[in-house]
């Protein structure tokens, strides 16, 4: 059978979603797929475009990876615009060639509408749609003081926020008498305006721009029809979008009166071999400018190409909920009460700045629409009433009253019918979620992975969690504890999400799976997960803010704000020359010196700015960081073993050094300690460590999950008479299994006790490979060993990273005034009571 060719024009959000759906379907096997994208970048999350100004990169926003495309066998042509369609011969034209197709998908999205005002082609007149647009805005903003956004709709306000973030004085100019005229009414618009002006964005309504000329005090002047004017350094047009239908138009496909490629319920255009999805498509005279309907079209088309005529696109709900400049705004269904006989209930608290309006049917039984400004906490409940036609309570006003005034509590997930749509992006109903749970999903993470719910715009995160928790509780499952207020997941679930979705930054993780900005609980946990998964330098810019101060500055902070330094001394073995260097450095910087319990030397009292200098000297002498600051492997303690000791049966020092070199730097949920003894006399106290190794005549016995400290625990015998290689492979597996599945700050002992089945289960997983993940665990460990770098070496060699170690960035010679010292037993120590 000859393979057919399917071409997708446009590599945006919807085009990409279509490929994900289609490639997973049987019909994919019959097609060679080619994709053309006009933009340079691989499809990215346009919905979160503005985060590009907050430090997110294209990689954070990307929807997929080049590797994924090549794995699927897709030919990807980025930065290549399709310029023509020859429908008779089924051939596409681009500046670089012609391509034959059997089936063609147009996913060309839309373009920003720029009103035909004289002067709109000035270089500082810009738009807000693509990453390139944002680069242009950023460039224009440098050297600018003020910026104007033309258009007070949803995107315009988002653009105004961005201008503010870029440090500009921001203005919004709107033609209509209020902001967001499509979604809000007069009262709602007025409240939004008030709130936004309080935040320092100036709003000008009922202004029609006549032309744009050179400014006197700024680059540009906008002249309005009422004779007034406004000077500004740059203008962003956000006056609506238009479907990108040029290609379809030129090839004679049916186009709507006001633009848009006409499609039927299966996304076919007037040519049966050409299909259109996303914002370029016009269905029953309607364009859908949101991502969820586009995704539904993508799924419908994928089904249609698989011969499924049952599923059809039947319109979409255009309700929206968002936060504009920190202000909640929500609009549901028939917000403007256009249904005949519709009635309104309004709640307006000017004091608190909350406005809520419900539009209800003539008989008072169903909710038709709603508007919310200032507080979106009622949105989910109202949306469920509207979408599912749930009969309103007798006093419907209770739904929008504050609870103190007799308001009804939010609609519990129990009240929702099975057919209630929970996630509109991925078309997941409550019934789908129950099915997933009955099929074995036992936490939020696995429900998300199984159903894809809440992996689109993220608007349904809270509702999904409520439904999942409620359903799990009904089935008697204990709902796992949330890490903190920002993530409704345990550490293990987060690890899974990071690994499976290839997430590499905290921003991406919290945006897709959490809320807010994070805190000192979740940030270090995520930092450690990212480090365990990808092993990037902990001072990489993205990771710096995630770490505890000890991890950030790679030293242990002491009570007066100075740090202690612990170089690695693998197995406790050190040459006299190296020992002398330690002494010299300690002397030069007057560092208090003490031998630790882990057979190393701890140097106390270094100031922040001394740390890189000290490490430069230590590194030159061959030292590496000891990770005493990290939740990672500390030391592998050893006795001298068979080399010197008359009882020794194996080279315990050699093995200790080998283990320490292998696991150094690995980030774990908590610190990890190991020890190796050269015979059963156990002089290294291996049985009080997370991993204890004791030599036997035939090899090594491995003990696991012991610890000293507050709640000492003897390690359990795990395996006996292992060869060197077997020992390392076994430890690899236990360590990685611990890293992947333990909770935050859980030592190995507690982790193992909490595993269902305890030690026996752990033995099955590791020794018998009962989960079939043994090879994967070893491979993961191997990858980490291969990418090891001494963090201190990387840091001292990089001037950008060294900048972090300035005590006061504007005063290099200023010493910290509270660090007072005295001398005791011949060494310097802090004065106890700080001034």
């Amino acid at each position: 059978m000859s393979t057919k060719t399917l071409i997708v024009v446009g590599n945006g959000m919807v085009g990409h979603h279509f490929l994900e759906q289609f490639c997973a379907s049987p019909a994919a096997a019959d097609f060679q797929i080619i994709v053309f994208g006009e933009e340079k970048q691989l499809a990215y999350d346009r919905v979160h475009l503005s985060e590009y100004f907050g430090g997110s990169t294209h990689a954070d926003l990307a929807m997929g990876t080049v590797e994924w495309y090549s794995e699927q066998g897709i030919q990807l042509h980025l930065n290549e615009q399709v310029t023509g369609i020859d429908r008779d011969n089924q051939v596409l034209e681009t500046p670089r060639g012609s391509y034959r197709y059997d089936e063609l998908v147009l996913a060309t999205g839309s373009y920003p509408f720029v009103p035909p005002i004289q002067g709109n082609d000035h270089p500082h007149c810009l738009v807000y749609r693509t990453l390139d647009d944002l680069d242009a805005i950023r460039a224009s903003a440098s050297g600018a003081r003020t910026g104007v956004v033309v258009g007070g709709g949803l995107l315009g306000l988002e653009a105004a926020n961005a201008l503010k973030c870029l440090g500009l004085e921001a203005h919004v100019v709107e033609f209509a008498p209020r902001l967001m005229p499509v979604q809000l009414d007069t009262d709602g618009g007025a409240l939004l305006r008030h709130k936004i002006e309080e935040l320092g964005v100036q709003v000008h309504t009922e202004k029609a721009t006549t032309d744009i000329t050179e400014g006197e005090d700024a680059r540009l002047r906008m002249n309005f029809s009422d004779q007034s004017f406004l000077e500004t350094d740059l203008i962003v047009f956000s006056a609506g979008i238009r479907p990108q239908d040029a290609l379809a138009r030129a090839s004679g496909l049916a186009i709507g009166e006001r633009g848009g490629i006409v499609i039927d319920n299966h996304c076919a255009t007037s040519d049966p071999h050409i299909h259109a999805i996303g914002e370029c498509a016009l269905w029953e005279q309607k364009i859908f400018g949101l991502v969820a309907p586009g995704y539904t079209m993508a799924r419908t088309l994928s089904a249609a190409l698989n011969g499924d005529r049952e599923s059809a696109f039947t319109g979409a709900d255009m309700s929206t909920k968002l936060k504009l400049l920190g202000v909640d705004v929500g609009s549901i269904g028939d917000a403007h009460a256009q249904t005949p006989g519709a009635r309104n209930i309004r709640f307006n608290d000017e004091q608190a700045g909350h406005y809520r309006r419900m539009v209800i049917s003539e008989d008072g039984k169903t909710l038709l629409g709603a508007i919310l400004v200032g507080d979106n906490s009622h949105y989910d409940t109202l949306l469920q009433y509207a979408l599912n036609g749930i009969t309103l309570p007798e006093n419907p006003e209770t739904l929008i009253l504050p609870e103190s005034q007799g308001g009804a509590p939010a609609l519990g997930p129990d009240a929702l019918p099975e057919t209630a749509s929970i996630c509109s992006c991925h078309n997941v109903t409550k019934g789908d979620i129950c099915t997933a749970i009955d099929a074995g999903c036992s936490d939020l993470g696995s429900v998300k992975a199984e159903t894809k719910a809440s992996t689109g715009c993220g608007g349904c995160t809270a509702l999904l969690k409520n439904v999942v928790d409620c359903e799990l509780e009904k089935r008697g499952v204990e709902v796992s504890k949330d890490l903190c207020e920002h993530f409704p997941y345990s550490r293990q679930e987060l690890f899974h999400l990071v690994k499976v979705n290839g997430i590499r930054t905290f921003r991406t993780l919290i945006r897709q799976h959490g809320t807010g900005q994070g805190c000192d609980i979740c940030k270090p946990v995520v930092g450690s997960i990212l480090a365990s998964c990808w092993n990037e330098h902990i001072l990489a810019t993205d990771h710096v803010p995630l770490q505890d101060t000890n991890d950030t500055f790679m030293a242990n902070m002491q009570k007066n704000g100075t740090y202690s330094i612990v170089p690695r001394i693998p197995g406790g073995e050190i040459t006299p020359d190296k020992l002398i260097v330690l002494g010299q450095v300690a002397k030069e910087y007057d560092l208090y010196t003490k031998i630790t319990g882990g057979q190393r030397v701890d140097l106390f009292g270094a100031t922040l700015s001394q740390l890189p200098e000290i490490w430069e000297k230590l590194i030159a002498a061959g030292f590496e960081t000891g990770h005493a600051y990290g939740k990672s492997l500390r030391t592998v303690k050893s006795c001298v073993g068979s080399t010197w000791c008359r009882y020794g049966v194996q080279d315990s020092v050699g093995m200790a050094i080998r283990l320490e070199d292998r696991y150094k730097g690995l980030r774990a949920p908590h610190k990890v300690k190991m020890a190796v003894s050269g015979c059963t006399r156990e002089c290294a106290e291996a049985q009080s460590k997370d991993f204890g190794v004791i030599a036997t005549e035939n090899g090594w016995n491995l003990y696991v999950c012991g610890n000293g400290g507050m709640r000492p625990r003897h390690a359990d015998l795990f395996a006996t008479d292992l060869s060197d290689e077997e020992l390392i492979r076994t430890i690899d597996r236990v360590v990685m299994f611990y890293v992947r599945t333990a909770d935050r700050l859980q030592r190995t002992s507690v982790w193992m006790e909490n595993l269902e089945g305890g030690l026996d289960y752990l033995k099955q997983v590791v020794l018998e490979d009962s989960l079939g993940i043994g090879a994967e665990l070893e491979e993961h460990m191997e990858g980490i060993v291969d990418t090891y770098q001494c963090e201190w070496k990387t840091a001292v060699e990089d001037p950008e990273k060294r900048k972090r170690f300035r005590e006061f960035v504007n005063a290099p010679s200023q010493t910290d005034p509270v660090q007072e010292w005295t001398v005791e037993r011949g060494q310097r120590r802090p004065v106890l009571e700080s001034a």
Binding site: C519, V544, R806, E807, F808, N810, S834
Partner: protein, 122 residues
């Protein structure tokens, strides 16, 4: 009479670390300047001195938000301080000094009380 203040230039945008803090030396002593690019306003300045230990370390704490309030956690004993008001969330009777901060071109400026120099000059 309103005490006299001045807008002291303390560092440039390049010195800031997103989602984190840096310490600067001002006429009023050590101050921690935080840059949280994902919220508005994005700049905050509070005293660098941890009131519980007396050590100058607050700029080295982890930032974030608790119930939407922007905070930094002391790196020593982990109390949280509001970046807006300086109030300690665990003990509201404790509060650290806050300073108005603004971005002027590429310069970060803090409003600090002006040290009266005339008596010294006299």
């Amino acid at each position: 009479m309103k005490p006299r203040t001045r807008w002291e230039a303390v560092c440039t945008v390049d010195d800031l670390v997103p989602e984190s803090g840096i310490a600067v030396w001002t006429e009023d002593g050590p101050v921690a300047v935080f840059y949280l690019p994902h919220r508005l306003p994005a700049l905050f300045a509070i005293s660098h001195t941890d009131p519980f230990s007396g050590a100058n370390v607050l700029a080295r704490g982890i930032t974030g938000d608790l119930k939407r309030e922007p905070v930094v956690a002391s790196p020593l004993y982990k109390q949280h301080f509001s970046l807006r008001t300086g109030v300690c969330l665990e003990d509201e009777s404790v509060r650290v000094k806050t300073y108005p901060v603004l971005l002027d071109g590429n310069q970060i400026r803090l409003e600090v009380p002006e040290i009266r120099r005339d008596s010294i000059a006299a």
